[in-house]
């Protein structure tokens, strides 16, 4: 059960407000910032009973190795989603946190903040809720954690007036995520932030009022490095792509070689290209761009010398999801290239996404994600259904069984 002595060493946990939490206190030691210390300090300062209750319940979970929350339904006017409702299963025992709801708030694309907005958010939240915030949830929401049902509407109203809106939950569009993108990254092949904002504004109704078969996620990564994990975690992954040749600054290549040596060039660049598209040439390198698969590796190692081409846009990969039922699904290449420079390009994406979601909503089963529907119904029917052309880019190899039907 551990000795609480080592804990509290950060100076917290000595207040009078909280009940003892010996097991949690064990998580106060060590160099990594402790969420326990944060919670305790917050509780001691604000004296919010809900915080004391939630600490007690968490301590009880640590002791019994079981969770004690159950779901429910809370929402705000006109919305059907955005609040994750939690009631305690042990409220008889620990009544102070009998409710502990979370408000999911859509963060700014790229998670770029200024301190003014953020302080505003903190103030409103401290006023109505516990003051505990997750930055950010795995889907990219700001999660305001710990509020009572009857305070949700007023909290939301106040937030909304400051420009904040609720994120997704349930069987609808979910909150989007985008990488830092063109704001600070040289690899960005399209404007992840702008696209994220525009697209999610289009789907805002579907975020707030879920009515599809199941959830649907979009993530926006500026290049195939995929810093938002889009390919593994979104029904449509929007990934930056270029179609022409990698831009090479020959003198910067030379500089790199001077600095790092030929051995490193061979071992860490040439040899690691997955398709061996890079060869040595005149003390520098030559890239066979027709054979480049846009993996990003050489650009990552030599960012000063190599950059994505000039004809830039996005690739769309579809069907990623987590383990449920079929096991993890990785997103599959469906649209290898699409321009993404103008408003119209974004509109075109939105049209396609609408088409895809309609198809999925019509053809999918209950609680079936896009990737599952595509696999069950077949890629061919999916492409037919949404009006896309089949292409060799969609497969790692053509089929190996004769089980297809074509008439001639």
């Amino acid at each position: 059960m551990g000795d609480a002595n080592g804990a509290g060493s950060n100076g917290s946990g000595n207040g009078k407000f909280l009940n003892p939490t010996p097991m949690l206190d064990e998580l106060e030691s060590g160099p990594w910032p402790s969420f326990v210390t944060g919670l305790k300090d917050l509780a001691e300062r604000t004296k919010k009973p809900m915080l004391r209750g939630v600490m007690d319940q968490l301590e009880y979970s640590y002791q019994t190795r079981m969770g004690y929350w159950k779901g429910g339904l809370v929402t705000v006017k006109g919305y059907g989603a955005g609040i994750i409702t939690r009631y305690s299963m042990i409220r008889d025992k620990l009544p102070e946190a009998s409710e502990f709801h979370t408000m999911r708030i859509q963060a700014p694309p790229g998670l770029h903040y200024n301190t003014e907005s953020l302080r505003e958010l903190c103030d409103i939240w401290e006023k109505h809720g516990t003051g505990l915030i997750t930055l950010h949830g795995q889907t990219g929401d700001i999660m305001l954690q710990g509020i009572e049902a009857d305070k949700v509407q007023e909290c939301f109203d106040e937030l909304n007036q400051k420009g904040w809106d609720l994120g997704g939950a349930g069987a609808g569009m979910r909150t989007g995520v985008s990488c830092a993108g063109p704001a600070r990254c040289e690899q960005a092949c399209y404007d992840t932030l702008e696209m994220h904002e525009k697209v999610m504004k289009h789907f805002v109704g579907a975020v707030h009022r879920p009515e599809w078969n199941y959830k649907f996620k979009l993530k926006f990564s500026g290049c195939p490095n995929d810093c938002t994990n889009a390919i593994m975690r979104s029904d449509i992954a929007v990934i930056g792509m270029w179609r022409d040749s990698i831009q090479m600054d020959e003198s910067a290549v030379k500089e790199w070689v001077d600095e790092n040596g030929m051995e490193k060039l061979v071992n860490e660049v040439v040899s690691l290209c997955p398709t061996r598209a890079i060869s040595l040439k005149e003390g520098g390198i030559a890239i066979d761009n027709g054979n480049c698969v846009h993996c990003m590796h050489c650009l990552n190692v030599m960012p000063k010398a190599l950059s994505p081409g000039k004809e830039r846009g996005v690739a769309l990969l579809m069907g990623a999801k987590s383990t449920l039922k079929v096991g993890f699904n990785v997103g599959s290449m469906v649209v290898p290239f699409m321009k993404m420079e103008t408003e119209e390009d974004i509109e075109e994406f939105i049209d396609l996404a609408d088409e895809i979601i309609d198809w999925w909503d019509d053809n999918g089963l209950d609680h079936e994600r896009l990737g599952e529907t595509i696999e069950r119904v077949s890629m061919k029917q999916f492409l037919d259904g949404v009006g896309l052309e089949p292409s060799i880019d969609m497969v790692s190899r053509p089929r190996d069984n004769p089980y297809f039907k074509t008439k001639y």
């Binding site: 019994t64 004690y68 003014e116 953020l118 915030i133 420009g163 390919i231 990785v330």
Partner: protein, 359 residues
């Protein structure tokens, strides 16, 4: 819940406007960045076509933050970064400044507040994790706690840049895997079928939905004490807990029998090799709060073997791919067992369909 008379309209605005959050230098050079460098661990230097430079200082957070903590981050931003800050997709916070001089004072300020600087380049960046006992309705553990305990031990790999490549770790409190794939993943694995609470079942759950949720069709309708209920075919059930996600009466969580499995070689990026799913390499580890030492030990074993054997730029899975799984087990000291042989859909595609074998 009744709210007072409203004299405003809800604006369904969607994402918070990002433009407000861009440092002026980033606004000016938007889409015109040329390259980046790593001047020192925890610091990025981005250079724009215009010649402008922006430095980023990256620091760790507990993810479950208090407003006080966030306000103190704002203080840092106001003092050293012109009032701007951002968060990464991996729960780090980043402060941007065009001024090289401000970097070190900023780092000192952060560290003095107990906020570690690091996580750039070839490091262990903070562990992506999920809700756990603090909030979720189905967790078997507390992801935040597992992560805090482990990050305490890995902090030097967060601060340094002495690994073959980035190591992305994830931790999740049930098999739904809200944290996705990682180079190393720590995930709850149940080891007994759910215990059905026949009392509450028909009252709080939609029976057909629960039946439909089971991946192996192990749940059948039945009648218990005159009430409609469900029964589990324990031969078929493989303890995934999916039914529990649909219905709290399918009690899968257990202090002793809900355990941990460790997975490796997940990769999301397209760099060099295609993205890969992670593979099971250890299981049956106890769910041992408050510091889960058994879990940390296995993760460290894996990390050390990778540090030792990986070549520059090789992600963990790429290293394994090169040396072969047999050597992975040898070098990490873990033990391969029959449960690690796939028996689910597509199982055959993971078999060694060749005479290729190492001795």
């Amino acid at each position: 819940m009744s709210s007072p008379e409203r004299n405003w309209k809800t604006v369904e605005s969607g994402p918070y406007p990002y433009k407000k959050g861009l440092h002026p230098v980033m606004q000016k050079n938007y889409g015109k960045w040329k390259y980046h460098e790593y001047p020192q661990p925890g610091v990025l230097k981005h250079v724009a076509e215009s010649g402008d430079v922006i430095y980023t200082v990256r620091a760790g957070t507990p993810r479950q933050d208090s407003v006080d903590f966030i306000r103190s981050l704002c203080d840092v931003a106001d003092k050293h970064a012109d009032g701007y800050l951002r968060f990464t997709t991996r729960n780090n916070v980043e402060f941007m400044t065009p001024d090289a001089e401000k970097v070190q004072p900023m780092i000192d300020d952060l560290e003095s507040k107990g906020i570690p600087v690091g996580g750039t380049g070839k490091t262990v960046s903070p562990i992506a994790h999920t809700q756990g006992w603090l909030h979720c309705d189905i967790p078997a553990t507390d992801a935040s706690g597992v992560v805090k305990a482990l990050m305490d031990e890995l902090i030097e790999d967060f601060r340094g840049m002495n690994l073959p490549n980035k190591v992305k770790i994830v931790t999740q409190c049930c098999e739904l895997n809200c944290g996705g794939q990682g180079d190393i993943a720590i995930i709850v694995k149940h080891t007994r079928p759910p215990r059905i609470n026949h009392e509450s079942l028909s009252e709080i759950c939609e029976l057909p939905k629960v039946v439909a949720r089971c991946p192996v069709a192990a749940i059948r309708p039945t009648v218990v004490d005159g009430k409609k209920s469900l029964v589990i075919d324990e031969e078929k059930c493989m303890y995934c807990g999916a039914c529990f996600g649909a219905c709290p009466s399918m009690e899968i969580n257990h202090p002793e029998y809900s355990r941990f499995a460790i997975w490796v070689a997940g990769k999301n990026s397209n760099a060099r090799s295609k993205p890969t799913l992670m593979s099971l390499v250890a299981h049956g580890l106890p769910n041992n709060p408050p510091r889960w030492p058994e879990v940390s030990a296995v993760v460290k074993q894996i990390l050390e073997a990778y540090r030792e054997g990986g070549r520059p730029w090789e992600r963990l899975g790429e290293w394994v791919n090169r040396i072969g799984w047999k050597q992975f087990f040898e070098e990490t000291g873990l033990t391969f067992d029959e449960d690690m042989i796939d028996n689910y859909r597509h199982a055959r595609t993971t078999f060694n369909q060749s005479a290729h074998v190492r001795f």
